[in-house]
Amino acid sequence: MATYSTSEFKGGLKIMLDDAPCSIIENEFVRPGKGPAFSRVKIRNLKTGRVIERTFKSGESVEAADVMETEMSYLYNDGDFWYFMDDETFEQVSGDATAVGDAAKWIKDQDKCTVTLWNGAPLLVAAPNFVELEVTDTDPGLKGDTSGGGGKPATLETGAVVRIPLFVQIGEVIKVDTRTGEYSARVKS
């Protein structure tokens, strides 16, 4: 079992805390007055995303978390699991809805996703920052207005719903920023 001592703590280090994989955001060495030395550490729980602050006795060791980020291609989902493949090793992994989270509504096969693996299994999946998706349903009646003012809701091929400008029609492909969930541009075919 790999461990890290508090003197090795720094931003980005992955450790186990309360049985959950966590990432250290920042570490501050504290030696109060004439008191005992300790580390004050800001930590993100990678399962829940919650940020907490904890203290550790100086010199204490904590278990390392086997967490790595890797780029993988999305293959398909079978209703329960989403499957991803490492393009170099062709190794496949599958993650459930909790791991895939919001990324599920943006990704389609062959998209390159950033997958955070914990003990080899997906813990988090981040969709590419931008995805190109076809509009499968939107109100066609609202033509004419090209100012792009109010916009209208549209359903995309993955099932995601975004607001798009009035001039975009069914069958067209748009670019969406997955971090904000907003329409970014129309893709000329």
């Binding site: 060495f29 109060p32 007055g33 004439k34 008191g35 300790f38 904890r54």
Partner: protein
Amino acid sequence: MTELENKLWPPTCSAALLHQRAELYQTIRAFFVEKGVLEVETPLLSAAASCDINLDSFSIDLSDAKKLYLQTSPEFAMKRLLASGSGSIYQIAKSFRQSERGRFHNPEFTLLEWYRVGFNLSDLMSEMVELLMLCFGQNLAFRTVTYQQLFQQLTGLDPHQVSLSDLMAYATTQGNHEASKICAGKLSNGLDYVFSQYVQPKLKKDVVYFVTGYPKCMAMLAKLDDANPITAKRFEVYFNSVELANGYEELTDADEQHQRFQHELMEREQDGLANLPMDKNLLAALAHGMPECSGVALGLDRLLMLMTGTNAIDDVLTFPIDRA
């Protein structure tokens, strides 16, 4: 990367900081010249070490199987000078504490330490105010508050009544279950922990705090207050939540000092820490007679950080430990 290409050779501080440090030292020296306080120099290496369980001294092995220790502060040697009749003295001294490294710590750092013969604690605090205003070149807001007032106001706990388990329970309710591991069964550690976690970060910005009347168990080398013997005549200075200085109305009683050293050595043994030689020269000096005085140590690297608005001690040091 070849040795010639290493990126760690330059200083971590800017050229301007070199000048700011030099100016600060000139300001300090001029201040003490005017006050008639003598600049002194004492050895960095000593046959004795501080026995404080929370201090980790560097030791040096000499060829003849003797061991010397790098000072954690110049306090003991300066007190021997005071007992020899030096009168009021000051020193800008390198001090060394192992395994202290972080945004506010480097294992090798610089202290300004001074002792004023015949001063009580409030005389010394007034002089500290004068010096700080001179260093910052402006008026500063100062606030003197007792440890008890501050502690009670920000945590609801009375530091003179509270037990270690009360303190640990408080830390647990705040989400820090590891506190008891850190504090290792020691009440003063518990107080220091809770203060640094839940009091210090909440101090108002731009106010220089003088915290006085420390609980007896945190007396260190200070006299107890005869009028209120549950408190010690110790103060600490905090500015923008940074601990800047620690001062005492100095303990002059050799027997009492001897007992405190022995108590510290006993604690070291209980904690499984290495036994250390207590400073018998200091005890002999106190037995000979040290004049009534007050003294304080001020961290000059942190003072420079605050004066220049820098974020980390590395910004004011030439070569911090990883580049030393």
